[in-house]
């Protein structure tokens, strides 16, 4: 189970994704009243997981099927209702996204911590 510590990697990637999502939501909410601002959104973590995690080990960055980078996915435009001033932010939707991000972050950290505890217990420390 603990040959390459994939659980930690996945948990950390999830926490990082949640952090980025929180930042994107914060950006949207800050710009909720800015004319012509288009709301941003991140793809789900599960979508990025398939492409970056649980793949073959890469020796080069451009290796076939290799895991390229740990960079979070680029934001995409969220298409909701458009205000008369061209702003597409919905504060309610952002709040939901932000709470989701926070819960995902907490979940990732709990997984990380409990695996750490497991590792420590097996080492007898």
């Amino acid at each position: 189970m603990f040959q390459n510590l994939d659980v930690f990697k996945t948990a950390m990637a999830m926490a990082r994704h949640a952090g980025t999502q929180q930042a994107v939501s914060a950006q949207n909410i800050a710009n909720a009243d800015t004319p012509r601002y288009r709301a941003q959104d991140l793809p789900d973590f599960s979508e990025t997981l398939r492409s970056t995690m649980l793949t073959q080990r890469a020796t080069r960055a451009r290796h076939l099927n290799g895991a390229a980078s740990n960079a979070p996915p680029a934001p995409i435009e969220r298409r909701d209702t458009v205000d008369p001033n061209g702003n597409t932010v919905s504060i309610e939707a952002e709040m939901v996204t932000a709470v989701d991000a926070m819960r995902a972050h907490d979940r990732a950290l709990s997984i990380y911590r409990s695996n750490l505890t497991l590792l420590r217990a097996s080492l007898g420390r």
């Binding site: 929180q22 914060a26 950006q27 909410i29 800050a30 009243d33 907490d106």
Partner: protein
């Protein structure tokens, strides 16, 4: 983790912009009875600050509302013209109050995000503790 500091920076830029907006609104409301006063408006715009990739928000330059001033009939008023009229303001209290309501709502949303981001980053720090 830089995502959190980005989030805090962009959130505080939102708080600052909404507070500036509220200040301009209260100037308008305070001057609702000042003869000849033109309503001030303040546009929000994106600003790119150094050290952060996130487009922040800031309140732009104050502009004056060009719409017509209210004509008030009061022949006894010292500023009244030949016809007995003088210029009032073009401030509409209802509009200003509705705008203030929206500013407050956005301010609160930003504050919530600030608090939540802070909570997330402190729970990350908790990992370091045994």
């Amino acid at each position: 983790m830089s995502a959190f500091s980005d989030a805090l920076a962009v959130t505080s830029s939102g708080l600052r912009a909404q507070a500036t907006r509220l200040r301009v609104l209260s100037e308008n409301i305070a001057n609702v009875d000042t003869p000849g006063y033109r309503r001030k408006t303040i546009p929000f715009e994106l600003s790119q600050s150094r050290g952060s990739e996130m487009p922040q928000v800031r309140a732009g330059d104050v502009t004056l509302d060009r719409s017509d001033l209210e004509r008030i009939y009061d022949p006894d008023h010292p500023m009244a013209d030949g016809g007995g009229f003088y210029d009032g303001t073009n401030v509409d209290l209802i509009i200003e109050l509705a705008d203030a309501r929206e500013a407050q709502r956005s301010y609160e949303a930003n504050l919530k995000m600030f608090e939540q981001t802070r909570q997330m980053s402190s729970s990350l720090m908790e990992l370091l503790r045994r």
